[in-house]
């Protein structure tokens, strides 16, 4: 279990990491990158699975079901769309081949 200050440290370091990683990105990649980071928060699927796995009542199961369904949509859709966009980025050397 992650407690108190450890959690806060993780939060802070991750926030800086995100900021630094994106810091110098060229404009041409803004859309794919937004889509890519959209995919990354699809990790919510993991949490939705856990929440549903611990659901006991019918209401909890129903909400959990919705959660897993939405999360799977986020992860899969985010991946497919990002991959399709990035697939197309080629330099003139590559196109000439």
């Amino acid at each position: 279990m992650i407690e108190g200050f450890t959690a806060l440290y993780i939060f802070m370091l991750a926030a800086f990491t995100g900021y630094e990683v994106i810091g110098r990105v060229p404009v041409i990649l803004h859309t794919p990158l937004m889509s890519g980071s959209n995919f990354v928060h699809g990790i919510v699927l993991v949490g939705a699975m856990v929440a549903m796995g611990h659901a006991d009542t019918d209401l909890e199961r129903f909400i959990g079901f919705l959660g897993v369904m939405l999360a799977a949509g986020n992860a899969v859709g985010g991946y497919v769309v990002t991959e399709r966009m990035l697939e197309m980025f080629k330099s003139s050397k590559e196109t000439a081949k």
């Binding site: 279990m1 992650i2 108190g4 993780i10 939060f11 991750a14 926030a15 990491t17 995100g18 990683v21 994106i22 060229p26 041409i28 990649l29 803004h30 859309t31 794919p32 937004m34 889509s35 890519g36 980071s37 959209n38 995919f39 990354v40 928060h41 990790i43 919510v44 699927l45 993991v46 949490g47 939705a48 856990v50 929440a51 796995g53 659901a55 006991d56 209401l59 959990g64 079901f65 919705l66 959660g67 897993v68 369904m69 939405l70 799977a72 949509g73 986020n74 992860a75 899969v76 859709g77 991946y79 769309v81 991959e83 399709r84 966009m85 990035l86 197309m88 980025f89 080629k90 050397k93």
Partner: protein
């Protein structure tokens, strides 16, 4: 073992995002991140004391299947709204996790309860807001809804959601009714906040909701004690915030302006009438001759080109020009298309190599040396009133200096105005010529004319 998998996933996410921030390695980046997701998902099946596996797999199959299908099928021009909808789903999932945990209400400490409620609030707003953004960009909802006192009402709804959130935090056992009202208010706030925002500002809003979803995921990660969710969510939260700022800066609109004022509603009428002069037409053969014997042509593509699906033809035309020794460059305004970088994706789809594509700062100094600036489907991003007319709603927005080229050819379907509804003074300049027609047809004609030379 599960913890190790989550750790590996977190590392893969960060490396993947890092690779995605350079065009050379971007394609590999998403694969890395995808591998991380796969590892984490498989590991989660082995979390102890879980049940409902059958239903879980069914939910994954439905959600994932639908997203797979739509994601493969969607046209590149419709990308922004798809990102919005997938993002909204993530927010909704975060809210659903919170709902389940709040119903069970066996929190280890008060701080987890607070985080669960916060995550639920943010996730719900991102969910319903993204859905409205999707509906607007998809054209299902055309108008911006503005009424007097709107911001006050929004504030009241938001305040009420906070009050019920606090009630949830205070009570020992969660009552279903309080929970229901809380979620209803949060969802309503997301809708009401997004409704008045105009289409042109939508990308910034989608990016903001993307960051918010990341934050909601991180909060629910704390509640579940899941490090992968905390790290991935936080990274997206901060990266998304930065990306939102970059986009807002590119449009020269402070984020607060985007969120709290309907675009064009404030002073859009002021500048419509003062663009004097006449429009001068040119036909395709003259335009083709002008460009074929030029030494440098800069093409300014806009969303209109993509709608006409003309990018393939335009690229074919450019290759013909290059065969004749003309230097061809593409100038992309940061907000060309529907969101920053969208136009690059559309050009990449047509096979234009990314080293022929220049952004605003790189290319603006070159316009005075260009013989022809070919503007196709772009409008507001080349409108000189952004430099000259302080009354114009787009005043101060950085624009491409296409008006400084020796000749300007504007390909346009009709005499309508751009996304912002503002008359374009560029079209009336002495060096500007209008080439009316559908983008695709015009490109076809240009190709034929150049081939005949």
């Amino acid at each position: 073992m599960i913890e190790l998998s989550y750790f590996a996933a977190a590392v893969l996410f960060i490396l993947g995002l890092k690779r995605m921030s350079s065009p050379k390695t971007a394609r590999g980046g998403i694969v890395w991140a995808g591998a991380g997701m796969l590892v984490a998902t498989i590991a989660t099946f082995f979390v102890p004391n879980m049940h409902n596996y059958g239903l879980m797999l069914l939910a994954m199959a439905i959600g994932g299947g639908a997203a797979w299908y739509t994601g493969k099928k969607v046209a590149m021009t419709d990308m922004p709204q798809m990102i919005a909808i997938y993002n909204g789903m993530g927010g909704g999932a975060a809210a659903a996790i919170a709902a389940v945990e709040l119903l069970k209400s066996d929190f280890q400490s008060q701080s987890f309860l607070v985080l669960a409620v916060l995550g639920a609030l943010i996730g719900s707003v991102a969910f319903s807001g993204s859905m409205v953004a999707f509906a607007k960009l998809q054209g299902l909802m055309k108008k911006s809804f503005l009424f007097p006192g709107q911001q006050k009402i929004n504030l009241i709804v938001f305040g009420a959601a906070i009050v019920f959130g606090v009630l949830l935090m205070m009570s020992d056992s969660t009552s279903g009714l309080t929970l229901f009202i809380f979620f209803a208010l949060a969802l309503a706030f997301g809708i009401m906040m997004t409704l008045p925002i105009g289409g042109a500002d939508m990308p910034v809003v989608i990016s903001l909701y993307n960051a918010l979803t990341g934050l909601a995921v991180a909060f629910e990660g704390f509640v579940l004690g899941n490090a992968a969710m905390i790290i991935a969510g936080t990274v997206v939260g901060s990266a998304g915030t930065l990306l939102t700022q970059l986009m807002a800066k590119a449009m020269n609109r402070p984020i607060s302006n985007v969120l709290f004022s309907g675009f064009g509603a404030t002073g859009g009428e002021a500048s419509t009438e003062d663009a004097g002069g006449t429009l001068k037409e040119v036909d395709a053969s003259d335009a083709a001759v002008m460009m074929a014997f030029a030494s440098k042509v800069i093409i300014v593509p806009g969303y209109g080109m993509a709608v006409a699906q003309a990018q393939h033809k335009i690229w074919e035309f450019c290759k013909l020009l290059e065969d004749k020794g003309v230097t061809v460059k593409f100038a992309i305004h940061p907000v060309a298309g529907r969101m920053p970088g969208h136009m690059n994706v559309l050009l990449a789809e047509a096979g234009v190599p990314y080293d022929k594509i220049y952004d605003l700062e790189e290319i603006n100094g070159e316009f005075p040396q260009a013989d022809v600036a070919l503007i196709i489907g772009a409008n507001d991003v080349v409108n000189p009133v952004a430099r000259t007319d302080p009354n114009s709603p787009i005043y101060g927005m950085p624009i491409l200096d296409a008006d400084k080229a020796k000749n300007v050819i504007v390909v346009k379907r009709g005499r309508g105005t751009g996304f912002s509804g503002i008359e374009n003074a560029l079209f009336y300049l002495d060096n500007a010529r209008m080439l009316y027609g559908d983008g695709q047809e015009v490109a076809n004609k240009l190709i034929q004319e150049v081939k005949q030379l």
